[in-house]
């Protein structure tokens, strides 16, 4: 029991540099699915460990060992005693007891915050999607060039999907003009993969977290990394039906057309110095998401070997299993 709090704290604190390292690593592009699993485990493990460490710090060390239910049980016991007005009993008063109480409260606040943020983000997403579907049903129309998709009459190049039970794939008239039939088919295959595999559900917790930790660079990099991995996953699915070159030129064309849209002040993305200077990077050029995806399509690296995949999956399982064990298993 005495080990539980330091271990949980170490998992929570260690998750942050680990996320930084994972965001910077190059191997995830070789096996996006395994990398996404690791990201999910890292996020869930961090949440459980952080809540557990705070709650465990506040649990009464004298009694925790005898209580069933690990850290969670001990923290609940403290909470229930507070509710009954007995706090820590007559023998536990003073600044130390206050500190423990604050710690348990902080753990509960963090847990509530994380759950609430997920619910709020889901609700916002459902609202935004309903508005999308309503507007599309008034404005968009079908086109034989893109079977199963809706066309929106606007000259800018855009292609996206609205995930959900009543999903939609939308292609702008500008994209229809820009791409040849083979490239359009590749775009549709990519979007269908998103919808079929519900990639939006993978990304949702990370965008939700970003709404609270917007100031935190690691949260931003995590969301960016997972978003890119999800795109790579959809690219890989499209490759099962379409040649890589069609998808690559579709990406290049739509990406290159991006600057033709008058961008609002909100969209002003800082141009990374040297992003366009490194002409030696070959067909990829630049370091942006699109360039990375194109380079990956045109010069595919072999997937990770089976032992490496096993290592990644094993790490993912440990990241979740360790905090769960300390939270719920009595010692």
């Amino acid at each position: 029991m005495f080990l539980a709090v330091p271990i949980l704290a170490a998992v929570a604190a260690g998750s942050i540099p680990a996320a930084s390292a994972l965001a910077a690593a190059r191997w995830p592009g070789r096996s996006p699915a395994a990398a996404i699993l690791l990201w999910q485990a890292l996020g869930l493990g961090w949440g459980l460990a952080a809540v557990g460490a705070l709650a465990g710090l506040g649990a009464d060390p004298g009694q925790a060992g005898t209580l069933p239910g690990g850290v969670a049980g001990a923290a609940l016991a403290v909470a229930s005693r507070v509710m009954h007005g007995a706090a820590f009993g007559p023998r536990a008063t003073g600044p130390l007891a206050d500190l423990r109480l604050v710690s348990v409260a902080a753990g509960l606040v963090l847990l509530t915050l994380l759950c609430w943020v997920l619910v709020a983000a889901s609700a916002a997403v459902l609202r935004a999607r309903r508005r999308q579907r309503d507007l599309l049903s008034l404005l968009a129309h079908g086109d034989p060039k893109v079977p199963g998709a809706l066309v929106l009459d606007h000259p800018a190049a855009a292609a996206y999907c609205v995930p959900g039970l009543r999903s939609r794939i939308v292609i702008s008239a500008g994209t229809l003009e820009l791409l040849d039939p083979a490239e359009l088919a590749a775009v549709l295959a990519h979007e269908r993969a998103h919808l079929r595999e519900r990639h939006d559900l993978v990304l949702l917790p990370f965008t939700a977290l970003l709404r609270v930790f917007r100031w935190c660079a690691v949260a931003r990099r995590a969301e960016g990394a997972v978003a890119l991995l999800v795109e790579m996953l959809a690219d890989d699915h499209a490759l099962r039906h379409r040649p890589a070159r069609e998808l690559a030129t579709a990406l290049l064309r739509v990406g290159a057309a991006g600057s033709q849209v008058p961008s609002g002040a909100l969209a002003a993305a800082p141009a990374a110095p040297g992003a366009s200077g490194g002409g030696g990077r070959g067909a990829g050029g630049g370091d942006g998401e699109v360039a990375v995806r194109v380079a990956r399509l045109l010069r595919p690296a072999p997937g990770l070997p089976a032992p490496a995949i096993a290592l990644v999956c094993g790490t993912a399982v440990l990241l979740v299993a360790v905090p769960v064990a300390f939270l719920f298993i009595p010692f």
């Binding site: 983000a121 916002a124 997403v125 935004a128 999607r129 309503d134 507007l135 599309l136 049903s137 008034l138 404005l139 929106l152 009459d153 606007h154 855009a158 292609a159 996206y160 999907c161 609205v162 995930p163 939308v170 702008s172 990519h190 979007e191 919808l195 939006d200 990304l203 949702l204 965008t207 970003l210 969301e223 978003a227 795109e231 690559a248 030129t249 290049l252 290159a256 991006g258 600057s259 849209v261 961008s263 609002g264 909100l266 969209a267 993305a269 800082p270 141009a271 990374a272 992003a275 366009s276 002409g279 067909a283 990829g284 050029g285 630049g286 942006g288 998401e289 699109v290 360039a291 194109v294």
Partner: protein, 133 residues
Amino acid sequence: MNRLGELERAIMDVLWETPEPLTVRQVSGQLTERDLAHTTVMTVLDRLAKKGFARRERDGRAWRYRAAESREAYVTELMLNALDQTGDRQAALARFVRSVSGAEARALRRALEALEAREALTAPGPREDAPAG
């Protein structure tokens, strides 16, 4: 699309084409489908008002309806979302290409040109941009 969706769309088209507010009777008169019941048109207009796409105002004993926003404004709203330019990053949509900076777009254009030039060299097949004369 279902029947109700088609009607909503046809009625919004009428509202978008007319700058001044219309009564239910006027809307019915401008629909290509003429034999619709008055109450049907009224119900659809009410639905559109509830969704926020139509505004209604009293005019004597009748209600007059107009579009809340122009068609262009709604298309722009959809496109700003599609191009991730609303500043509110959320997982509501999955975009083929997320927002691209100007410098990035220029780099991608160069990459595309390089790719096409290289392929024209290695495989001089029939291409539409071959010099005609």
